[in-house]
Amino acid sequence: MSGRARVRARGLARSPSAAEAGRTCAPPSRSRSPSPSPTSVDTGNNEASSTSSFVGTSRMSQSCQDVVSSGDTGCTFTERGGKIRQDFKDLSVCTREKLAHVRDCKRGSSGVPVKLVANLFSLDLPLDWQLYQYHVAYVPDIESRRLRIALLYSHKALSNKAKAFDGAILFLSQKLEAKVTELSSETSRGNTVKMTITLTGELPASSPVCTQVFSIIFRKILKKLAMYQIGRNFYKPSEPVEIPQHKLSLWPGFAISVSQFESRLLFTADVSYKVLRNETVLEFMAGICQETGMSCFTQMCEKQLLGLVVLTRYNNKTYRIDDIDWSVKPTHTFRKKDGTEVTYVDYYKQQYDITLSDLNQPVLVSLLKSKRNDSTEARVAHLIPELCFLTGLTRQATTDFQLMKAVAGETRLSPMGRQQRLARLADDIQRNKDARFELESWGLHFGCQMSLTGRVLPSEKILMQDHVCQPGSAAEWSKDMRNCKILSAQSLNKWLIICSNRDEKVTEDFLHCLRRVGSSMGFNVDYPKIIKVQENPAAFLSALQRHVDPNVQLVMCILPSNQKSYYDSIKKYLSSVCPVPSQCALTRTLNKQGMVMSIATKIAMQMACKLGGELWAVEIPLKSLMVVGIDVCKDEFNKGMVVVGFVASINPGITRWFSRCILQRTTTDVADCLKVFMTGALNRWHRHNCSLPARVVVYRDGVGDGQLQTLLEYEVPQLLSSVTEASSNTSAKLSVIVVRKKCTPRFFTEMNRSVQNPPLGTVVDSEATRPEWQVLFEKYDFYLISQAAGQGTVTPTHYNVIYDDNGLKPDHMQRLTFKLCHLYYNWPGLISIPAPCQYAHKLTFLVAQNIHKEPSLELANSLFYL
């Protein structure tokens, strides 16, 4: 490697300009060998495996789960550890060029046009705009990034220029006169430092590097608007929402990004809330101590704390807890940078005027990321638990219904409320003198909010056994189907109910209701055998062991409390040891006054499904179509494992499902078992229909940032080879669609000077979708709004068709997707994603949270996990 190349390489490794390499259409850090081995982990993807989007368990809003990065608050490129942002990488994965039928147009046509406004703002640049990229070298070399930046910024030659600099790479909007510029500056100690600024690139506005520089510019601007950067988002601490009951404060703010959309550069802003916990690590530890006792206190602390990100009280920095050193106490000494020894207690007293109250607490250990990559010496920071706060919500807290309700109540914003916040932000940006100056100096013009036209797809009819109903609202049709018979149901003859001694009366009452609603929906429920047991999980389990045999069709358990161990032990036993469908319900639920009938109806439907019944259907014009949903979810206990769920329809009416699930190591990263699952599903289809499906459409959920390329190279071939091998002559046509529930665009309809959520079935396939004019980053994608949001703002779901042999017209693809959102039997209404994905999610969630084992294959033909 030549010296110059080495410099370049070093520059690349530490800055996103590496994304230049992305122009070659493959992420730079990956090997491009045609058959990557399943165990090879894309090193650039390490982050993806920890992003919350990959964790299927997190169904809550992103705002509650914000991961706080430990980067420093300076607005520079190396913040993310020099890595290319993961979603950014997906941009450079082209999928559309291979799809002949959509090469010219990826837009649909059916439905009623609807005018929409989006949370997007146009950013205009002069036509000939260019970004100039320079490399800056220091002689003598300076390690401190802060000093590097200070020296360069203070130099007169650059003082009036718009610039962005991360310590090594400098971006300017105006070209310097010479290709190589030599400057010299003086440090405060009087040493002269020579800086050599060398032009390394001239980039057009459409370059991905530019979008990143624009993002940095906007970060700077938001800081000028008195917002704090935490992670990637910006928050206003001066207007907090406080929830003292749960020791939380919420900071309102924005998630912002700048990206290239269909035809132009757009600024996206979405309202976001940062959850801050008013609880120190020491208090958290005290809680653990009280809960678990001394015997396993240290293990529990380590289990719950390691890996969490904490915020220090005094210096506005975040750290990841990598270890806890129980042997170090605040009264021990450490050596300061200058070599003097001081105790932690004295240090915090002297430096920050803070008196530590607990002198027995251990210290938290955090490995510090080395800013300069060449230093191999690992540096660690010792932190005092009493002075650290936990950030975000723990997994435990997210399962707290009360807490989540409180958070949702505060963070839920009506479309109007959201629109007002956006308008205020845009206004602030345009009015703020510094912000305006910053934009002007880069030649950027912050334009107006974008309007576009969507289409509302025709509504669907719900097909029941002897009745076709046109629901009053597609959001929920439980009323419309009252007294209608479900499509098919197996009669329930031999079944058990296990309840505690105290709950006999409740059980009898409920059973009465259940049988009544069952018969009205065409689901015959015979009288079960009722087993009364003592009120503890062990008694329930031993009753199962004694009474359940393979002839039992279903077991119902009436649980006296919502203790996890009841549910876990029952589900574990009945889904893997002795595979029989099971139904759990809480006594408290059955006791709810005035709701007994609707609860019984709901449970009756779930039970019918668990026996393999079909509730309702929608019209599917395509004959011989199999749809598949795939989702992944991290195991709750074993962080190294992920659960992959695969749910495929096995009849042309798309009412019966084949569900498989597997646990595999996280290092395998993407679903490794798809070929086996797909082949299994095709066999099952063949058994039921005496032929193979002509078309297979796969919806893949749970895709993390930056994984698109891996999906294309690794998952699609698996599915494809299974489909081709299944038949000797004409094989099924395959389409693969990546489903994302968390996307930044939001759409509103304007009505009487107010804005509202768009109608159900709204499709957006222009303007806000990804570029089509730029050949390299082509996508065939659309947004669909298929769920109702009561009081809040609806989040559209993004569909990205990454593989498509079927040659379905975009219009048909969109309508099929919409139809599939009607078919989730746990909810008589539309849901946000296609039913097979929701089934796959439900299945993986159950396995990851409760069973931790693969469910028996014998249950694969029924929706036993509802």
Binding site: S61, Q62, P240, E242, P244, H246, S249, L276, L282, E283, A286, G287, Q290, G293, M294, S295, F297, L311, T312, R313, Y314, N315, N316, F334, R335, K337, D338, T340, Y344, Y347, Q350, Q351, D353, I354, S357, D358, R379, H382, L383, Q396, A397, T399, D400, Q402, L403, N562, Q563, A585, L586, T589, K602, Q606, K741, K742, Q787, A788, A789, G790, G792, G829
Partner: protein, 388 residues
């Protein structure tokens, strides 16, 4: 400096470096005297201001520098961090930076408890140096002035024989500095004590400190206390030459919204501990080991006496699925007690705004459900997450 880094590699002349010793010298003075209003003339990179902002007694910090620029550095470190919002200070704090000369009269610098001029005077030309005493001592007239400057007698110990900084106009020996200082003190009714930082190496003790420091204390006229409490605007004619480049205020318990929230949080923390003890009571009887005191387990920062006092206060109780904690019980917790200065009435008023109290307003009511064991059963009846 920001965190306790476990490393060491630099070999230096002074431990800690002499600039840091100067700052610690000031910090010690502030600790000793509890100054409320402090101005730093020639604040440079704002390190001293940043160090002083952590003092609990400080409520008003001002920096003046001829080269102060907005948004370049300081702002970041001087503005309140996320932590300052989570645990607000007890007292308000405002930090303001001005650009301008230290020898310019500006009424906004009058009435301070302390004015620091750390390594400033040696940068002044003779004209400014002549104006300096009149402006700082005569016009600003703070309770205390700290002036540090190089001790030229120490210079021979350095390799370079000239001034320590090319911008220095002069470097005085001890005698020169002390003469100047005594004259100034006499003229403006201050008393002065001399000190310094940066001990000379063994064998060179005769040269004195590397940095010489004069601490000037205003001679107390009879009714000083009352003149301090007067609002400044009435005392001084408003003169403003300095250009404000930055200002920020910290959240504090003196602001009602932060007080209310902090008190509620403290109350909830105590309630949560009581609740969890209450919920786990029976299990402990089954033979769980009782946590031994003095081990490495956190003890909620309570002393034995405080524990005993808590035990004696009215006990929490439950009715149905509700858990009640008497306000009296909460008051036994030192942090809560301190915040409301022992007043039940105040506690009641504030908690009633954010939390739920029982019928006769004598206890806080919370749900008895414990989130650590609570599950979401979407198996029944929770609609699939529609909302985000």
């Amino acid at each position: 400096m920001d965190h306790c880094e476990v490393l060491s590699k630099k070999v230096i002349e002074f431990k800690p470096p002499v600039y840091e010793q100067r700052y610690y010298f000031v910090k010690n003075l502030v600790n000793q005297h509890g100054h409320k209003k402090i101005a730093d003339l020639g604040f440079g990179d704002a390190t001293l201001l940043w160090m002083l902002k952590y003092h609990r007694c400080v409520q008003y910090l001002v920096g003046v520098d001829i080269a102060a620029k907005p948004f370049e550095w300081g702002g970041g470190r001087l503005s309140p961090g996320v932590g300052s919002y989570i645990i607000p200070r007890e007292l308000d704090l405002t930090i303001t930076l001005y650009r301008g000369s230290a020898v310019q009269k500006d009424s906004r610098l009058c009435g301070f408890d302390l004015i620091t001029c750390i390594e400033l005077i040696e940068h002044l030309d003779s004209e400014d140096l002549a104006k300096f005493p009149e402006v700082v001592f005569g016009y600003f007239s703070p309770g205390m002035v700290v002036i540090s400057t190089p001790n030229s007698e120490f210079n021979p110990l350095f390799p370079a024989s000239t001034f320590r900084d090319p911008d220095h106009r002069f470097e005085w020996n001890r005698k020169q500095f002390q003469m100047w200082a005594l004259d100034v003190a006499k003229l403006y009714h201050y008393s002065v004590e001399f000190s310094g930082v940066g001990d000379p190496p063994a064998g060179a003790e005769h040269v004195g400190y590397c940095t010489q420091i004069g601490v000037f204390q205003k001679n107390r006229a009879k009714p000083t206390e009352s003149s301090i409490s007067e609002p400044e605007e009435h005392v001084y004619e408003v003169v403003s030459f300095l250009w404000e480049v930055y200002t920020t205020s910290y959240p504090s318990l003196q602001q009602s919204k932060y007080f209310r929230f902090t008190l509620s949080i403290e109350a909830v923390k105590s309630i949560d501990l009581m609740k969890s003890r209450f919920l786990r009571g029976p299990r402990r009887k089954e033979g769980d080991r009782v946590v031994p005191l003095g081990s490495c387990t956190p003890q909620d920062g309570l002393t034995e006496a405080q524990r005993a006092e808590i035990e004696q206060s009215p006990k929490p109780y439950s009715v149905g699925e509700k858990f009640y904690v008497p306000l009296e019980r909460l008051l036994a917790y030192p942090k809560v007690n301190l915040l409301v200065a022992g007043s039940t009435e105040k506690l009641r008023t504030v908690l009633a705004e954010g939390l739920r109290l029982n019928g006769d307003q004598t206890a806080v009511q919370v749900e008895l459900v414990d989130y650590r064991t609570q599950r979401l059963f979407d198996e029944h009846l929770v609609s699939p997450a529609l909302e985000s």
